[in-house]
Symmetry: C2
Subunit: 431 residues, 2 copies
């Protein structure tokens, strides 16, 4: 049996998972790969660090010199699981230049420098595989690049961040407000000590930039993605959503149409019949609309050492078979389309609006009037008595351009009959 | 640009879909394939048949001579979409022997002769791809063979038949009995005029045989799958299920454990929180449990011209890239495991039992006594007054071996206090 030699850069959570998986499932992996997969060297920052929990056979192959991997002609595949965009970028670039194939789990690097790296891979004839960089165990990169390759994809939307989905699920299940749910998520290890990247939607924005680039065959950058987090979602919005037949999810959403490409991350009312509405807790899911396959959804664990290792080794096995078969035949960059990015203010959708108003005659009519003046048409409205001399108004609109919606809200906020403007959340579905 | 030449065998629903997709999305497909994909010849039975709905460029390449495809050295890939297991099998075997790669949508052929065909493909160094043969647009073959390749898969279960899922969804949504729902499904074109293969679970059994073979790396045949259809499911079972927090689905289910492999198709109570419980209408879904990736689900359209064409062309594109890259590097047969098939009567699960009994004191205790004598332990019980002097008893059991369950039911059916035995349906979940 031929051998395929691996150099791994990084031995953190994911690296540890990869090493463990190779050791536990080694026989199976070799059979699937058609070659003996040998973990030859692992790059770590501090080789002197105490690692009593790491098996002896792994400790024996550590190095702190990147050249031991990058310049070793016996190494066929480099697994990059160190993260970050500085050293990792430099190492991956060098590895490709040295004609090594690369498997990476690095979302930040792929979102920011994917185009450059594919160009480098093309020049040297190496493969750059990155399934693990987006949603870990969910095989969305492979499905987009291969299974659905002949389709025109019109939309890709998903729950791409486990932390925020855990928080929203907890708010809904335990009837708690955002701050309490966040605290519990942090206590349970489901949110990082600085959760800003997750709760502000930035993590999901990087992922949808990568996925939309593959789906629409054009480069979509992180900066092209309109991003709004979940910090403004309150328990009463979740309860109104339930009453109206929806669930609120943080949705990363990209659409391709004649007008251009729209990419955004924001809380969204999802109808309870929609497959994404039932994706709860830390689970992720990606929902794809295409011309031939129709609606497809992929569901699974979007983070964690084992699910990420699973994706890394799926790519390694595919590479090993390609090397064994005489050629690496992977789809590299397919960004042959160029299309305008639709400005967020020109995007069209339905909206949910909640506000606290004075409980007096004619209030609803005045608010409806302002909406009408801006071309915002009302689909449904609920008015409820609130505390004291106030009432709560909840409106779902028909499809409207975002700038019209925002202009009308600015006007409404200035009205003296409005005590407090509550929420503005987009609603999935056409009129 | 290099050209890859295709010979297609069959121009029915799926063949028409493939031809249409190649014509509509040809530019995209060529870019993804890295080669010009040329549909060179199409085999039809009756070349004289009137085909005014078929475009002229397609009519121009029809032939009724298989040798025009099988013996043409210019043909790289044979697409088999004629169905059946006689001629199709012979043609696919010859194509592989003649060193052509084959893409097939033929479930019956793969379920019955997959092993032989893989052996043929191995001998000649050709690839045999069959994503389209199971659940059309759901990329489950690719995900099992590649994305999850390094995982030990312990369970694969799914809703693999659109007709039965449509019928069960309709029974539940419109509160109709099986026969009415079947009639509507036939009227709407969702069930064939002879629906036996679908409603008796045989179609799903062939699919789970193929999927379990890949998932567990061992040959599982159609005959190894215990099969029970949906004809015995009544509306009141569906309503009791809802009351108890479940939905009834026809589930194809295969488990791998130290005791052996269990493969079955039967109606199953699925807890409403389970991702499969929300898969409705004609949609299919496959749910996979594995050691590293954890829980994964794939959801989409499991039948139809376009979804099946999408899967066929996904395989064609992958093959074209492989040919362009200098070698076909596809995972062929991976049946290196041998494991006992667990006899159905030794399988263990929870059960739902419904029966109509005489409404008199001590009846429940007598029934519980018979269950207890056979080692069947009760998890929950509901007794309701029924018409006249009768009552309805609904029991959910703890985990029990199927033969004990069946023995106790045989005894119960013979009791004079039992007016009519209603249903016995398995319940998903452990104690």
């Amino acid at each position: 049996m031929k051998s395929i030699r691996i150099g791994m850069m990084g031995l953190g959570t994911v690296g540890g998972g990869v090493a463990a998986m190779l050791s536990e499932n080694g026989v199976l992996i070799d059979k699937k790969a058609g070659s003996g997969i040998i973990l030859e060297k692992i790059l770590v920052k501090d080789i002197a660090k105490e690692r009593s929990d790491v098996p002896q056979n792994i400790r024996a192959i550590l190095t702190d010199n990147p050249a031991d991997i990058l310049d070793d002609p016996n190494i066929d595949i480099v697994i990059e699981v160190m993260g970050g965009t500085k050293e990792a970028l430099e190492f991956v670039r060098t590895a490709l230049r040295n004609k090594k194939h690369v498997v990476t789990a690095n979302k930040d690097m792929m979102a920011a420098y994917g185009g450059d790296l594919f160009a480098e891979a093309d020049r040297s004839g190496s493969a750059l595989l990155f399934e693990a960089s987006v949603c870990a165990a969910i095989p969305v990169v492979d499905v987009l690049k291969h299974s659905l390759a002949g389709n025109r994809i019109s939309r890709i939307m998903g729950i791409l961040n486990g932390t925020t989905n855990y928080i929203l699920t907890m708010m809904s299940g335990e009837k708690s407000e955002y701050s309490q749910a966040l605290e519990k998520a942090m206590d349970g290890g489901y949110a990082e000590s600085d959760p800003a990247d997750d709760v502000m939607g930035r993590d999901a924005a990087r992922k949808i930039a990568i996925l939309a680039s593959i789906a629409f065959n054009m480069r979509i950058k992180y900066e092209d993605v309109f991003t709004e987090g979940i910090t403004g979602v309150s328990l009463c919005d979740i309860e109104y959503a339930a009453e109206l037949g929806y669930r609120i999810k943080l949705i990363a959403d990209a659409k391709f149409s004649d007008e251009g490409v729209e990419a955004r991350v924001n809380p969204l009312f999802i109808p309870t019949g929609h497959p994404l509405s039932n994706v709860d807790g830390v689970f992720n899911a990606v929902y794809i609309e295409s011309d031939m396959a129709g609606e497809t959804m992929l569901y699974g664990k979007g983070a964690g050492a084992k699910p990420t290792a699973s994706a890394v080794l799926g790519d390694v096995i595919a590479l090993a078979r390609a090397i064994g078969g005489g050629g690496a035949v992977f789809t590299g960059c397919t960004c042959f389309n160029e299309k305008m990015i639709v400005a967020p203010e020109n995007a069209v959708s339905r909206f949910y609006i909640r506000m606290n108003v004075k409980d007096s005659p004619g209030v609803l009519s005045k608010i409806a009037g302002v909406l009408g003046d801006h071309g915002v048409s009302i689909y449904s409205v609920v008015q409820k008595k609130a505390q004291g001399q106030s009432a709560e108004i909840v409106i779902i609109t028909h499809m409207v351009m975002e700038k019209n919606m925002l202009d009308s809200i600015a006007k409404i906020k200035g009205m003296d009959i409005v005590n407090e403007f509550g929420s503005l959340i987009r609603v999935e579905g056409e009129d």
